[in-house]
Structures are given as structure tokens and as C-alpha cells.
């Protein structure tokens, strides 16, 4: 059993705006092992979000190879990518992105809607996750009734509902106060200790310190 979860080889991404072609990623090479906690840092405009989109299978690279669990995924169809995202990857966003009209529990169950039937076991699992993240008494509240930290914990529970192989977090503490930030990072650290591979994009060096490896992306290339 290979220890490598994902492997990026010479990943390039270009965008065209009118006649001008922008090269956002200029040849990224990256290997992430199972159980790793990687932080990607770097200045704005350095290509962090684009890279995260590609790693998270939300976007395809213009060129290069991307092996996810030893499978070439850079050329998969939209539907195949959707299936992989659904089963293998959990997302945590800076702006939480919870559905405003759904309760905490329903938000957590959202990814399962696209997998098939939701049974009682799934509901127990969602409740268990919320319980574990300290939201036992909030499962039927809507996002607007929760604090920022609580909303981010709901989002983490949502990311975990499908038992992903990889958790991607994009500035997960960007919208939070320091107390909530610490709580959220504690949760992520704990999840990593239990074996979950985590890739986090952040500006915050305090946050990045929690990772066991830091990569810095600048002008479309890793500089260290």
C-alpha cells in the first residue's frame, strides 16, 4: 500500500483574458503522503486558490499530471470529478458556505444527498459529528443563529460526513476571532492526529505552525 495520497507533476494553469494569457501556475510539483498536515502559504495572487481548486478537483489543470490515490485525475469528466469530490474530499471554506435555510444537521448531511439515500445511520453519524465538535445543542439551528466559530465547526462536520481521504481548508480561520480560530485549529490538529490528511491554505503563520510541513507559493511556483 502506497503511502502517497496525491502527486502533482508539472501542473500548469493558464487563463485567457482577451488576448492576454496569464499563467497562474507555472509547473507545480507536490507530493502529499497519507496523514500529512500541509500548509500552503504565500502572497495574494500567488496562485494558492487556483492550486487548491486543482487539488480539490474543482478545476482541471491546463497541463501536467495529477495522481490522486494512484489514479490520474487531471483528465476525468465533470461527473467523475463530482463523484470523487463527494467520496474522497472534504472542504472547509473561509466563508463557511452553509446553506442559510437548512439546519446544522441538514447542512452536514448535504453531501450525502448526491450519493444516494440518506438512512437513519447517516443521521446518527451527522449528530455524532456535531456532538463531537461541541454542537450537540445546536443541531436544529440555522446558520444565522450560530456564531462564526460554530458555523465553521458545522462546515467541518459537513466535510467529514463522507469519511474523506483528504480535507482541504481554505483560510478556515480567516473570518474568525482568535478564540474561535484556536478552537477550529485544535479540531483540525486533532483530526490530523487521528490520521486524516489535511491541506490548509492560509496567510496566518500562527495557523501554519500547526502543520508538519509548510510550502510557500509565489508567482505560480513553490519557493520552498
Amino acid at each position: 500500500m502506497s503511502k502517497i495520497l496525491l502527486q502533482l507533476r508539472e501542473i500548469k494553469k493558464t487563463f485567457q483574458s482577451g488576448k492576454v494569457i496569464y499563467e497562474i501556475l507555472k509547473g507545480i510539483n507536490l507530493e502529499v503522503e497519507k496523514g500529512e498536515f500541509l500548509a500552503i502559504m504565500g502572497p495574494s495572487g500567488g496562485g494558492k486558490s487556483t492550486l487548491l481548486n486543482i487539488i480539490g478537483l474543482l478545476d482541471r489543470p491546463t497541463s501536467g499530471s495529477y495522481l490522486f490515490e494512484n489514479r490520474e485525475v487531471s483528465t476525468l469528466s465533470t461527473n467523475e470529478l463530482a463523484k470523487l469530490r463527494n467520496e474522497k474530499i472534504g472542504f472547509v471554506f473561509q466563508a463557511f458556505h452553509l446553506i442559510p435555510w437548512a439546519t446544522a444537521q441538514e447542512n452536514v448531511l448535504l453531501p450525502l444527498l448526491y450519493r444516494g439515500k440518506i438512512d437513519q445511520e447517516d443521521i446518527y453519524r451527522a449528530q455524532g459529528l456535531l456532538d463531537r465538535l461541541g454542537l450537540k445543542n445546536h443541531i436544529n439551528l440555522k446558520p444565522a443563529e450560530l456564531s462564526g466559530g460554530q458555523q465553521q465547526r458545522v462546515a467541518i462536520a459537513r466535510a467529514l460526513i463522507n469519511n474523506p481521504s483528504l480535507l482541504l481548508a481554505d483560510e478556515p480561520t480567516g473570518n474568525l476571532d482568535s478564540q474561535s480560530s484556536r478552537e477550529v485549529m485544535d479540531i483540525l490538529t486533532e483530526l490530523n492526529k487521528e490520521g486524516l490528511t489535511i491541506i490548509i491554505v492560509t496567510h496566518d503563520s500562527e495557523v501554519a505552525k500547526r502543520a508538519n510541513r509548510i510550502k510557500i507559493l509565489k508567482d505560480g511556483l513553490f519557493i520552498e
Binding site: N86, F93, Y114, I118
Partner: protein
């Protein structure tokens, strides 16, 4: 389709109540118009049918008229070939319940010092039964009157009213200079077309033929068929019989015309049909406009909810999930609006029935019509927003804020 997904769709719809309100409003209005116009057209048609059934004609009736097809209003064939022997032959056909021959024309009628040109019909006693009509006062003529060419006359209601009402029974009136005894007055019976029935006078067929018009032939025969007779078949059989009897072979044109209930209805409903078709087209255009409104509002809604849609895609929703999601929203809207439009149109028709002689026509047919058009509109016009939603790039989630 899980319960949660349904709940999710419903709540998303309800999350922008103003949008939802306008979508429903646009649909309901145009569907109400469509339903009302359709149902009123049907109602008008039914009323004409009812009138025809009650008054002049009947569902199971045929009319044979002397003289063939007309060119510019002129008969091109002989018109004096239809005779009583034809009636007897027709009566022998198995599907004929009764037949009522008639002749008629305009005659000079005078009573006291007043003179008038009136339409006079020469008919047999069976005429009343064949036309579902009754005598109001006095009596109709009988076989005896027919046999003896008696100079007796029965007046239509409006004629009697004009000249002195019910007291006219027993009076003498002059027809073409000869005295006739008024023996009865007919019930009022509205009718469509020229020479309203209530403005006619009636004498025995033989009296009309021998004393007034001096002719042997008939103007026409009204034939009542047994119920459930195929009108088309009856028409064909009678045509064949008459052609044989009139010795018309090969390409010789008919010297008679057979009028079926459909032809009568068609003549009377042609105008109202044109009008309702026109109104229906307008209603359909309004439905298309509301479809465009739906498309517009749904597209706006999709743009507004881009974040939520992107999230769904990010967590694994495939394009088909997103498309189905919005199509299903459209389906829900269609069903609700369809039902509302139908209910409103029933209310509207009830109101109209208070103000006009049209009667509201309750039918599940219009309900289906409403639902069908609602569904078609919603589905067609939500295709674009649904596909737009499915194309949303989930990458916007990361660029966010």
C-alpha cells in the same frame, strides 16, 4: 428523491418570497385567462348545442332540404322533386323514428285591418313532436284536418301576442284572401336564424300544398333518428335512397341537401369559435410572456444563489442533480400555479355568469388543461436557468470574500 432534498427545494423556493410571489403571480394570471377563455368558449358552444337540441334541431335529427347545392345562393338543380312518397320511403328505413315533412313560404296574412307578410309552414301533426314543441292554447291540427285540407291555422307565440294574445283562438284571419280559423297558439320557443319560429304561422301540410302554394312537392323533411344511430351512416343511406328515387345516377348532382346537426352547430359556432380561438391565442401569448418572466426570475435567482449552487457542486452534486433540482422547483411551481389559476378561473367564470347569460362550466378537463400548460411553460422556461445553474464554477467558493 429523498425527503430532505424535497425539503431543501421547497425552502430554497421560499427563501426568496418576493421572487416566488412574482413567478406565481405571472403564471396564475395567464393561466386564469387561458382557463376562463377556454371554458367560456366551451360554455358558449354547449349553450348553442343545447339551444339546437331543445329548439330547432336535435342531436339525432337530419334535415333533408329540396334543391341541391347552391351557387351564389341560387339552386342549380330542380327543387320540386321532393315529395310525400320520398317521406314514406324514408319512414320505412329501420333507423328512422319519425319524419316530419314541411313546405312553406311567405304569405300575405291579415287580421282586422292589419296586413303582414308572414312565413307560413305547412306541416303534419307530428311536427310538434318532431320539434319538441307544445301548444299553449287551443289545439294543433290533427289527421282529420290534414285529410280534409281544412282551413285552420296555428299561430306562433309572437304573432299571437302582436295581434291580441290568447284570445285569438276561435277568431278568423285571412291568408292570401281566404279566411282561416285560428285553432291554437304555440308555446314560446326561441330560435336562431332567419324567420324565428315564434313569428311563423302553421297550417296543415295538405292545406298549404293545395290551397295556398298549389304545389305537390315539399320544401324539406325533418327526420328524427333512433338514439345512437350513426348520423353519417343514416345520411349516406338516405342520400342513396333519394338519389335512386329521384333517378339521379353517375355524376348527376343531388337535387336535395342533407343537413346534419354538426353542420348546424358548425354554422352557429363558426363565429364564436373564431373569436375564442383568437382569445386563446392571446392567452397563450400571455402564457409565453409569463414563461419569459419565469425564466428571467429563475435566472436571477440562480445568480443570487450561485454560492449555494457552487457549494452543492463542490460537495459532489453532478450537473444532472442541479438541473433536476431546478426542474423540480419548476414542477412544483407549475402544479401550485396551475391549481391556483384553475381555481381563480372558476371564480371568475362564476362572476361572469352573474353578469352574462353564459353559464360556468365546471370540468376536470380545464383543470388538466391548466396543469398541462402550466407544466409545459415552467419546464420549457426553466431549462435555461437550470442549465445555467449546472454550469456554475465551484471554484468561486475559494475566491470568495
Amino acid at each position: 428523491m429523498t425527503k430532505l432534498l424535497l425539503k431543501e427545494i421547497l425552502r430554497e423556493l421560499l427563501s426568496n418570497k418576493i421572487n416566488l410571489f412574482f413567478i406565481t403571480l405571472a403564471l396564475v394570471f395567464s393561466l386564469t385567462a387561458l382557463n376562463t377563455i377556454y371554458a367560456l368558449g366551451k360554455s358558449a358552444e354547449k349553450q348553442i348545442l343545447d339551444t339546437l337540441a331543445n329548439l330547432n334541431f336535435g342531436k339525432d335529427a337530419l334535415l333533408v332540404l329540396a334543391g341541391g347545392s347552391r351557387v351564389m345562393g341560387l339552386t342549380t338543380t330542380r327543387t320540386d322533386t321532393l315529395v310525400m312518397e320520398d317521406v314514406y320511403a324514408i319512414e320505412r328505413l329501420g333507423f328512422v323514428k319519425m319524419s316530419s315533412p314541411f313546405t312553406g313560404g311567405l304569405v300575405e296574412v291579415s287580421y282586422k285591418e292589419k296586413a303582414e307578410k308572414l312565413r307560413l309552414d305547412g306541416v303534419l301533426p307530428i311536427y310538434l313532436k318532431a320539434n319538441n314543441w307544445n301548444i299553449l292554447k287551443g289545439r294543433f291540427f290533427n289527421e282529420e284536418d290534414v285529410k280534409n285540407n281544412n282551413k285552420v291555422v296555428v299561430l306562433g307565440y309572437d304573432v299571437a301576442r302582436k295581434w291580441g294574445g290568447l284570445n285569438l283562438v276561435g277568431e278568423w284571419i285571412k291568408i292570401q284572401g281566404q279566411f282561416y280559423l285560428v285553432i291554437g297558439i304555440l308555446e314560446k320557443k326561441g330560435s336562431l336564424g332567419h324567420f324565428p319560429l315564434d313569428e311563423r304561422i302553421f297550417v296543415p301540410l295538405t292545406t298549404a300544398q293545395k290551397r295556398i302554394f298549389n304545389q305537390k312537392h315539399l320544401r324539406g323533411i325533418k327526420i328524427i333518428l333512433y338514439e345512437d344511430t350513426s348520423i353519417n351512416l343514416a345520411e349516406k343511406t338516405i342520400r342513396k335512397l333519394l338519389r335512386e328515387r329521384h333517378k339521379l345516377y353517375g355524376i348527376a348532382p343531388d337535387d336535395f341537401r342533407i343537413v346534419t346537426p354538426e353542420m348546424v352547430v358548425a354554422r352557429h359556432t363558426a363565429t364564436s369559435k373564431t373569436l375564442s380561438a383568437f382569445l386563446l391565442v392571446i392567452a397563450l401569448i400571455s402564457l409565453i410572456i409569463s414563461g419569459v418572466i419565469i425564466m428571467n426570475l429563475m435566472t436571477a435567482s440562480v445568480e443570487e444563489k450561485a454560492g449555494v449552487i457552487a457549494l452543492r457542486i463542490a460537495v459532489g452534486a453532478k450537473p444532472k442533480h442541479i438541473i433536476l433540482h431546478y426542474m423540480f422547483s419548476a414542477l412544483l411551481l407549475a402544479i401550485v400555479s396551475g391549481a391556483m389559476g384553475w381555481a381563480l378561473s372558476i371564480g371568475l367564470m362564476y362572476l361572469l355568469s352573474l353578469l352574462t347569460p353564459l353559464k360556468p362550466l365546471f370540468s376536470w378537463g380545464t383543470f388538466l388543461l391548466s396543469l398541462t400548460f402550466s407544466l409545459i411553460t415552467c419546464i420549457i422556461f426553466s431549462i435555461f436557468p437550470a442549465f445555467k445553474a449546472s454550469r456554475i464554477d465551484p471554484a468561486i467558493l475559494l475566491k470568495g470574500l
